[in-house]
Amino acid sequence: MTRHEWPLFEVFVRAKRGLNHVHVGSLRAADHEMALHHARDLYTRRNEGVSIWVVRSDAVAASDPADKEAFFTPSSDKVYRHPTHYAIPDNVPHI
């Protein structure tokens, strides 16, 4: 028997107003509407959220771990981006 696999969706839940949507997992569904219903049943059975996003997994572009250095190393060189890089005398208040 050939199986009709539904596509994979990534699920994001906003736990409460004022917070970002956070990735919680994935699920299979035939379309976006079903994905939302499944996400409600699967990831918010106990008041875990007030809003849900679903995104087709194959629509997500992710950084490749092989590019990790090119992606993320330069930011660690730039110490001058951090407030602690700057010496301010102790007698200067509120800065």
């Binding site: 009709h4 990534e10 997992g25 379309d31 699967l42 194959d58 572009a61 992710a62 490749d64 771990p65």
Partner: protein
Amino acid sequence: MTSFDSAAARSDAGAARIDSAGAGLDAGVARFDEAIARDQRIEPADDMPEGYRRTMVRQIAQHAHSEIIGMQPEGEWITRAPTLRRKAILLAKVQDEAGHGLYLYSAAETLGADRGDLTRRLIEGRQKYSSIFNYPTRSFADVGVIGWLVDGAAICNQVPLCRSSYGPYARAMIRICKEESFHQRQGYELLMTMMRGTPAQREMVQDSVDRWWWPSLMMFGPPDADSPNTAQSMAWKIKRHTNDELRQRFVDMTVPQAEALGVTLPDPGLRWNAERGHHDFGQPDWDELRRVISGDGPMNAQRLRRRREADEDGAWVREAAAAHAAASSPAVSSTGVSSPAASSAASILEGER
């Protein structure tokens, strides 16, 4: 939060092949070893040894299958629950088991496995599930005892898995453990209610404890001396305690609960050992565990048959939903995952029986 787990696993499927061709392999292994040594989590897109990936897929899949098959023993009592309250509780609990199975299939898919394929492996008997679900539920007291002992043992096993080195599995386990606490408490409360009832009800509880005690101890797996994979799993930090350590912890936790409930645990050798600071207890019948695991338990055939029937009976629904989605919005009608993931799943699982 890290990357988009499942999607990342897909892009990783290509990267893994390039690595195995040569260039980045050593660096990848070094990064993996360092992450494990520093107790960091491994995420889907990270390089990982093929053995680690295969072991994780198998462990997560077996866990997922256990949750799904685990719906059956208690599900049989939904229509026969004695009150509306008990029925609502039991429905919610069985729905949770389904949810746990789906969290775990989701985690397995981050490793390039495909959940349809995993389901097929379960139905064809090529992947296992927990031996405990191959025992019958003979009375409503079994619903309480499963919550108390079986879910109690599951909690002992699962709390350390919240620190599993594989990130998506650890995160799924955190969700699951939160919900398991409800399962155990509703079971214990049910038993307390029955123990306050008639002599016949108390007998029913004791009979149920007698039948489930030894199978519950078997849930921790064979004794350490007969558990050859434990050392590797502990080195990879996908297992944090040995089978015997967890079994001891479960016995020590359960004894005072049994006393409070007023039931007797059916082990004449069970007694406090002040020197060790633990209870001594007897060994389960390991031959029985071997028989049940290899398919010869009281309910193995029925459990798999019902899972197969549910899959077959649901096929037209899955097809109809896919057809409806294709007709109403061709852009989202794809019927499969991208091919790199599919081929990687096939290669991952090739090693299994």
